[in-house]
């Protein structure tokens, strides 16, 4: 009697164990194989969702787990139907359940191998046409975890190079300098201003940094292929927009009627006054950079204060013994009337204009500087693109050139502002973390950047589409037979337990 009970208890434990070693084990193994996918930003484009206090995840990285759960659910439904329709013969029920389990396990693997592989091969071929290397099906199917981890290392290195803090980007303030609100676009992983440009405090997400670099370098390369220099083309296009009084840009600044624009479907962000509101006299945007008036004020203070300082007068003879000032009386300049005009004259008078020009642009042949030159220099450090107006490049007609213009602005000017320079300039270009006390990293070459971006794109496409399937496939292949066996064992034990129970019943009265 006691032995019988012990047998039943043991059988029950094993019954549960075998059940757990079937589909639950497969789901668990898919979960384990999906680990690297979940950790990888490119595969895991989804996000955590919250229903009450229960977390669930969306996005391609976890799809393998959901497929596994779906297979298990199908099996459970099958089991319930069997119980309903095959009541008498318990061995028949067992046989059908085991066959069902086998089909549920083998079917998806065959489906993946027969129907998904051609898709993969086609995709691989299309990448090969663009000279982008993608691993073969066989290798990917077995080493997808390793590839995903390698890719994550590349992502990390990319983010370090360009000083990108967060994969999904970071916005340092909900409001721009002028008080306008920035709006998050989760799909783009970006925060935008009302004019469609990045918000003032937006530090690129991985995705947007890739997009900017791609727009910059692919268009540059396309022009190079035609023997053209895109930067010169851009400059010409901008000059044309500025100088032509009937260009869309000039119309925009004037606030002409929307119907008069050559650009189709043009509409103002707020109203036709917007440019004047931002950049007109007392314009809002003018408060946030060194305007001509502001510079004049600063220089005037500088002239006045230095002029009032007596030590300067005694210092000057010492200086003139080192530097030839050409009879220039500096003290006479140092008063309230000190202005940019005066300074420009002094520089030109000393014959330094040409030197300065060549410092900025080695090809320059001009010998004098003017105020516009100084403001051009200043704009690199102090300019403000109003979030409430379109930039001039919005009105460039050619799409490639326009994309390049935006990318050029984001990579160099926005990037320099937020300390994540994407495209370096000068002889030894630097990118990334360039601040008051950091000098950035050596910039990768155009070819390197394009190759990296291509690799990221190929990985993203392939991994999102196939890696979750591989995670499922791997567990099904390795543990399919074992799981089927365990399903059988669980059923067999049920029969065993039932039989033992029957015995228990007969002897129940005996004490």
């Amino acid at each position: 009697m006691l032995k019988l009970r012990r047998n039943i208890t043991a059988a029950r434990i094993f019954q549960f164990l075998f059940y757990a070693l079937g589909f639950p084990l497969i789901v668990h193994l898919v979960l384990v194989s999906s680990g690297p996918l979940i950790d990888n930003g490119l595969v895991n484009s989804g996000k955590e969702q919250l229903i009450g206090t229960i977390n669930y995840y969306t996005g391609p990285a976890v799809m393998g787990i959901y497929y596994g759960l779906a297979l298990w659910a199908i099996f459970i439904v099958g089991q319930l139907l069997l119980k309903l329709f095959v009541r008498k013969n318990r061995w028949t029920r067992t046989a059908i359940a085991v066959i069902l389990a086998a089909i549920i396990i083998v079917g998806p693997v065959l489906y993946i191998d027969l129907l998904k592989k051609p898709e993969y091969d086609a995709l691989q071929a299309s990448f090969a046409e663009r000279n982008i290397e993608v691993e073969d099906w066989g290798k990917s199917a077995s080493k997808f975890g390793e590839f995903t981890e390698d890719n994550q290392a590349d992502i990390d290195s990319f983010m370090r190079t360009y000083n990108i803090q967060k994969f999904k980007g970071k916005n340092y303030s909900d409001t721009n300098a002028d008080g306008s609100l920035s709006i998050e676009n989760e799909e783009d992983a970006a925060w935008y201003s009302p004019n469609g440009m990045y918000a003032d405090g937006y530090v690129f997400s991985f995705k947007q940094a890739n997009k900017v670099l791609k727009d910059y370098y692919t268009n540059k390369a396309a022009y190079e292929a035609d023997g053209e220099n895109i930067e010169i083309e851009l400059q010409q296009a901008l000059e044309e927009l500025e100088s032509n009084p009937y260009s869309d840009w000039s119309r925009y600044k004037r606030g002409d009627a929307e119907s008069s624009f050559s650009m189709e479907d043009f509409s103002y962000i707020t109203d036709s006054d917007e440019y004047k509101v931002a950049y007109g006299e007392d314009g809002i945007a003018r408060k946030y950079y060194l305007t001509e008036e502001r510079l004049a004020q600063v220089l005037s203070v500088l002239g006045r204060e230095l002029g009032e300082n007596e030590s300067i007068g005694s210092l000057l003879p010492a200086i003139s013994s080192f530097i030839d000032l050409g009879g220039l009386d500096i003290m006479s300049l140092l008063n309230e009337d000190l202005s940019l005009e005066v300074l420009v004259d002094v520089v030109n008078g000393l014959g330094l204009g040409g030197t300065l020009r060549q410092l900025v642009d080695p090809t320059s042949t001009e010998t004098e500087i003017d105020e516009a030159f100084v403001f051009g220099l200043l704009a690199n450090y102090s300019s403000y693109q109003s979030p409430m107006t379109y930039p001039v490049f919005y009105f460039i007609e050619d799409e490639g050139l326009r994309d390049f213009a935006y990318a050029n602005y984001y990579a160099k000017i926005h990037g320099a502002k937020i300390g994540s320079v994407l495209v370096g300039t000068g002889e030894n270009p630097k990118v990334g973390h360039i601040t008051m006390d950091a000098s950035g990293m050596p910039a990768p070459t155009q070819e390197e950047v394009l190759a990296t971006i291509d690799q990221f794109e190929a990985f993203e496409t392939i991994s999102q589409k196939f890696y979750p399937l591989f995670a499922l496939r791997e567990s099904l292949v390795k543990f399919g037979a074992f799981a089927t066996l365990c399903v059988f064992a669980a059923y067999a034990l049920t029969i065993y337990i039932d039989k033992k129970y029957a015995k228990l019943t007969l002897k129940a009265g005996v004490k």
Binding site: G179, Y288, S311, M436, A508
Partner: protein, 443 residues
């Protein structure tokens, strides 16, 4: 004997918890003593919880003693255990949901729940130190009457009315005309704080036109201006000129971005000087020393002019007399002169009374969570003893009677077993019913 054990178990429960929690809080009491009862908020909460537990304990004890019934003792145990759980870990699970937001509000987001949770001792020290630093600064610039000893102020702390006024009123100026003015014109302070201080960000911070409330007073009796030239072997006390009385001790002030971070910036020139020809170096150093004060003074005036940065940044030159490498340009914020801390510290100090109340809760929280297990276990043990006491006098008649009743009802029922052919019954169920009925028939 049993009463003695019960008392012992009781003491090991909640009273021990109180002891541990108070012991862990001593540090907080010391640091925040001048903030009054708020520092004891945690202990007060704990005491209230204990009263609830104590009442439950007494009521159940009395009831169980009076009735001498095992059932009553059992009910009492369940009640005691439930109350023990609710007033230790239970309520805290709910409070934990609310607390992070309260803390966030009290510190304008500068102090996070997870930062203090296990770190309350250090946090209490940091917050206690803020008050001390604040008082010392304001004593040095004579904002606090120097005819009274510094120790007196330190001892009185927040209870001193002048100290209280300076903390709150001067922070309003720093907050509204400083931090608030900077953050309302975009992300620049955030970027600078996030290790992204680029030249464009600096230009924005210096030149953006800001909204300033000029009517806000700033309570400062004396101007305390740093010298233009200082030496590395000088006592930091001597970095300043003598205090100069202000015309209007309540006149408003303006703030530069350096005041938000509160610490000086140094641009080292040491490397350059070391490489220099010794003759030239001597010439440069003597030029700096003779012309420096006047030139640096002019530069300070330029920076402070409303057309430029509009707020004082105390430029200075530090000369390395001990080690030439120490030579450099210093950009000093005005915090020390004006007797305020950096923005974050001052924001904490401004709500320190509230913060101490919140911090005082953390050791209590920790021990309630952890020792809650012991309190529950002790409650069960006490309950078990009471049941045993009851059992001895009780002869467990109640339960036995109940059992017999149900048994008898069962016995009189007759079955014909035809209902067991129901196809919806599993083999287990059939076997179970059969066995059960068989047993009843035979009994």
């Amino acid at each position: 004997m049993k009463t003695f054990i019960k008392i012992l178990l009781f003491i090991l429960g909640f009273p021990a918890l109180i002891g541990l929690a108070v012991y862990s809080s001593i540090n907080i009491f010391q640091e925040g003593q001048s903030y009054g009862f708020l520092t004891f908020a945690g202990v007060i909460v704990l005491a209230l919880f204990f009263v609830a537990y104590l009442i439950t304990f007494i009521v159940t004890e009395v009831k169980s003693k009076k009735s001498k019934s095992k059932k009553i003792a059992q009910k009492g145990m369940v009640a005691l255990v439930l109350v023990a759980f609710i007033f230790t870990g239970g309520l805290w699970i709910i409070i934990d949901v609310l607390l992070p937001d309260i803390l966030d509000d009290a510190t304008s987001g500068t102090l996070l729940f997870d930062d203090v949770r296990e770190n309350y001792k250090v946090q209490a020290q940091v917050n206690g130190q803020l008050l001390e630093d604040f008082i010392i600064r304001n004593y040095q610039n004579e904002n606090l009457d120097n005819s009274v000893a510094l120790e007196t102020y330190l001892q009185e702390g927040y209870r001193n009315e002048r100290v209280k006024l300076l903390i709150h009123e001067n922070f309003t100026s720093l907050d509204t005309n400083g931090y608030g003015a900077f953050t309302s014109t975009g992300p620049w302070v955030g970027l600078a704080d996030g290790d992204r201080l680029t030249i464009p960000v600096l230009v924005h911070l210096l030149f953006n036109e800001k909204e300033i409330d000029e009517t806000l007073p700033f309570y400062l009796e004396f101007d305390r201006i740093p010298k233009e030239i200082v030496y590395d072997d000088m006592d930091p006390e001597d970095y300043y000129y003598n205090n100069v009385e202000r015309d209007d001790p309540e006149a408003g002030v303006t703030w530069s971005v350096l005041d938000m971070a509160g610490s000086p910036m140094e641009i080292s020139l040491g490397g350059m000087l070391v490489d220099m020809d010794p003759g030239l170096r001597t010439l440069v150093l003597s030029l700096i020393q003779t012309l420096g004060p006047s030139l640096v003074g002019t530069l300070r005036d330029i920076v402070a002019d409303p057309a430029v940065a509009g707020a004082p940044i105390y430029l200075g030159i530090k000369i390395g007399r001990e080690d030439i490498e120490n030579t450099g340009i210093i950009l000093m914020p005005s915090n020390e002169s004006r007797g305020v801390l950096d923005y974050k510290a001052n924001a904490w100090l401004d709500s320190n009374n509230l913060l101490f109340a919140v911090i005082s809760i953390f050791p209590i929280r920790f021990w309630l969570y952890l020792w809650g297990a012991i309190v529950i276990a002790m409650s069960v043990a006490i309950g078990a003893i009471r049941m045993k006491e009851a059992k001895e006098d009780d002869d467990f008649q109640d339960e036995e009677a109940d059992y017999n009743n149900t048994y008898r009802e069962f016995k009189h029922t007759e079955y014909d077993d035809s209902d067991l052919d129901d196809p919806n019954l599993s083999p287990y169920e059939k076997a179970y019913f059969k066995a059960q009925r068989e047993r009843i028939r035979r009994a």
